[in-house]
């Protein structure tokens, strides 16, 4: 008990001082290590002689401390504002440590890990399905939305007609959207010959996927347009004046200058879809949502967490990776004198 408490206390003290962000980062890391150590020591100790069906899960105090330490770490990092490569390195280290921790079995006495152990195959399927839903819908939305954005950028009339429709789609509550998909795709599956054979039906993967794509179109198209229009008017005029064709202007000037905004749109969509894909569990779309809704039905908190925690982690990692990408594609270096 004692070393963990000491580490936690020292971590909090170091983490709460304001002067040195590096020290704050180290403090937060130390605190987290202490916390994990306490949990890993506490669980088996509590289980001694408690019988086969006993479960241990961390209480509110653990989660509070976890949030506090994570916030400290995030704050220290934003103060340090590390470059994109440093951030990528830090992310890799954190992920490696997390993987090591989960592999090592020190946490295997926790109930959430036991839920995992009894559902390994289902968990793997859910992970693949979740990734498929989030990334697949992103790719599809990008394949439709990016060219659509280019056309809208050139044709003001189309832009004025299309954007309100996409905005409207965005305002449909997610449950309602998934609800609409059921009769709609159900009808398509029944009416169109062959549709059922390729998996189009009222429930399952197809309606969930379609709903996510529809949600994604607005951010993708809107950011594509905003990115392309962020070119300074004088630069666009100069490009026209020197005899660039429309394509050359797009490839050489408008796209590179708009890339950070365009990627920011994809980032929004990716993070949004990782979260929304949970709802897909409701209509049999699979993914981590399956565990969440099973857990809700059985009021099994650990099962809910088994679905929720990976979703949060996935969203966080995607956000960080996309931020790094956005920064790397910034067309003008930051260091202006």
């Amino acid at each position: 008990m004692v070393p963990g408490m000491v580490a936690l206390a020292a971590g909090l003290v170091l983490g709460l001082q304001l002067a040195w962000p590096w020290l704050r980062l180290a403090g937060a890391a130390l605190g987290l290590a202490g916390l994990v150590w306490l949990v890993s020591q506490g669980a088996p100790a509590l289980l001694v002689g408690a019988g086969d069906y006993a479960r241990v899960s961390p209480g509110a105090g653990f989660w509070c401390l976890l949030v506090v330490l994570a916030l400290l770490m995030a704050d220290a990092l934003s103060n340090l504002s590390p470059g994109p490569f440093t951030r990528a390195g830090l992310l890799a280290v954190v992920l490696a440590l997390l993987a090591l921790l989960l592999q090592s079995g020190v946490l295997s006495d926790l109930s959430i890990m036991q839920e995992y152990a009894s559902r390994q195959d289902a968990f793997r399927d859910a992970t693949l399905r979740h990734l498929g839903l989030a990334f697949g819908s992103l790719a599809t939305a990008a394949a439709i939305g990016l060219p659509l954005g280019i056309v809208c950028h050139r044709r003001a009339g189309l832009r004025r007609a299309l954007l309100p429709i996409l905005s409207f789609m965005q305002t449909i509550p997610s449950l309602a959207m998934f609800g609409i998909m059921i009769p709609l795709l159900g009808w398509v599956g029944d009416a169109v010959p062959g549709a059922k054979a390729i998996g189009i039906a009222g429930i399952g993967f197809a309606p969930a996927f379609l709903a996510l794509v529809l949600y994604s179109l607005l951010p993708v198209v809107a950011n594509m347009i905003a990115g392309l229009q962020s070119t300074p008017p004088a630069a666009r005029e100069a490009a026209r004046g020197m005899g660039m064709t429309e394509w050359q202007r797009l490839i050489r000037v408008e796209l590179p200058l708009g890339l950070p905004v365009i990627l920011a749109g994809l980032r929004i969509v990716l993070v949004q879809n990782i979260g929304l894909a949970v709802i897909a569990g409701l209509i049999g779309g699979g993914g981590f949502g399956t565990f969440v809704f099973q857990g809700l039905n059985q009021t099994a908190t650990d099962l809910i967490l088994l679905g929720a925690l990976p979703t949060v982690a996935l969203a966080l990692v995607s956000a960080i990776v996309m931020d790094i990408l956005v920064e790397l594609t910034r067309p003008i270096p930051e260091h202006t004198p």
Binding site: A235, A238, G241, M242, G243, Q248, V253, P331
Partner: protein, 311 residues
């Protein structure tokens, strides 16, 4: 030769350029002056068809511009946009290289040309080549903008207030540079400004615009001596007209036999500067030399006679 014929641009039924006709000779500089909003930029942009004329025609060496694809036409015409319009994500070198790249020049030729142009505009290539536009002063940005327009050695150059952001010293130097480049290459230049001084100094011909109309088109001396309208007279600057006139004439034109005391002036000094020298040093006559060889002298009386203008 550029022939502009009855060219008009209407915006919402109102003319921004109102049936302008003029002819620009090859290898000359024509300066378009006028107040803000008089249609100078619009006129210039109708030549490379960034603005489509509502009516009228432009011919370059006899070919109507309407018969060429726009991008082909524009690649032949250098265009320095009002307010530089550099690409923020390109370095100085890539900005200058933009048109040669479009034309598919080989890499070595482009690099050599970039350095040559940077040198020409007094910007050390080593120091400036790899900077981004945001890392330049306003005047440097403008010079890069002009260098970019010159890069492919176009026969025709359109420049919209290219020296607007330069301080008087750099501006004078840039004007000299432009003159020199133009004479060396024999390019045809149409340049927009609202600075009459610059127009007088640079222009072989000056075109004065007022509310979309071309009110006078002639040599600087004609504009000063016989302004076609009150507006032109005002542009030339009422009380300054004699001085403007003197600034157009070199001392070599009125040099006479005889000698004078004090420091000598070069033969290509303007009468305005000669007058200034006389007044400042309290002399009635100043010696004139050409390439170090005495030519004679110029007297205050002779200068005064030149300044009289219309009798």
């Amino acid at each position: 030769m550029i022939e502009i014929e009855q060219i008009t641009k209407l915006y919402d039924g109102l003319p921004a350029v109102d049936s302008v006709s003029m002819t620009v000779d090859t290898a000359t500089i024509t300066v378009i002056v006028g107040t803000s909003g008089s249609g100078k930029t619009t006129l210039l942009r109708m030549i490379n068809r960034l603005v489509e004329p509502s009516s009228g025609e432009v011919r370059i060496n006899g070919t109507p511009t309407g018969t060429l694809a726009k991008h082909v036409l524009r690649r032949r015409i250098g265009y320095a946009i009002q307010g530089h319009g550099l690409f923020p994500h390109y370095t100085v070198a890539r900005n200058i290289a933009a048109v040669p790249e479009l034309l598919g020049w080989p890499k070595e030729k482009i690099n050599a040309r970039v350095d040559e142009l940077l040198d020409l505009f007094s910007m050390e290539p080593e120091q400036f080549r790899d900077r981004y536009p945001a890392e330049l002063s306003g005047g440097q940005q403008q010079r890069v903008g002009v260098a970019r327009a010159l890069a492919s050695r176009p026969d025709l150059l359109l420049m919209d207030e290219p020296f607007g952001a330069l301080d008087p010293i750099i501006r004078a130097r840039a004007q000299e540079d432009l003159r020199r480049i133009q004479q060396a290459l024999g390019s045809t230049i149409m340049l927009v400004t609202h600075d009459m001084e610059e127009a007088m100094h640079l222009g072989d011909r000056v075109a004065v615009m007022d509310e979309g109309r071309l009110v006078q088109h002639g040599t600087p001396a004609e504009i000063v001596l016989r302004p076609a309208t009150d507006f032109v007279a005002e542009m030339v600057g009422g009380v300054e007209r004699p001085l403007r006139l003197l600034s157009l004439i070199p001392v070599s034109e009125i040099v006479e036999e005889g000698s004078a005391e004090g420091d000598a002036l070069a033969a290509d000094t303007s009468l305005r500067d000669a007058l200034s020298t006389c007044l400042w040093s309290g002399r009635d006559a100043v010696p004139v030399v050409q390439d170090g060889v005495p030519m004679g002298r110029v007297t205050l009386d002779a200068i005064r006679a030149q300044a009289k203008g219309q009798r």
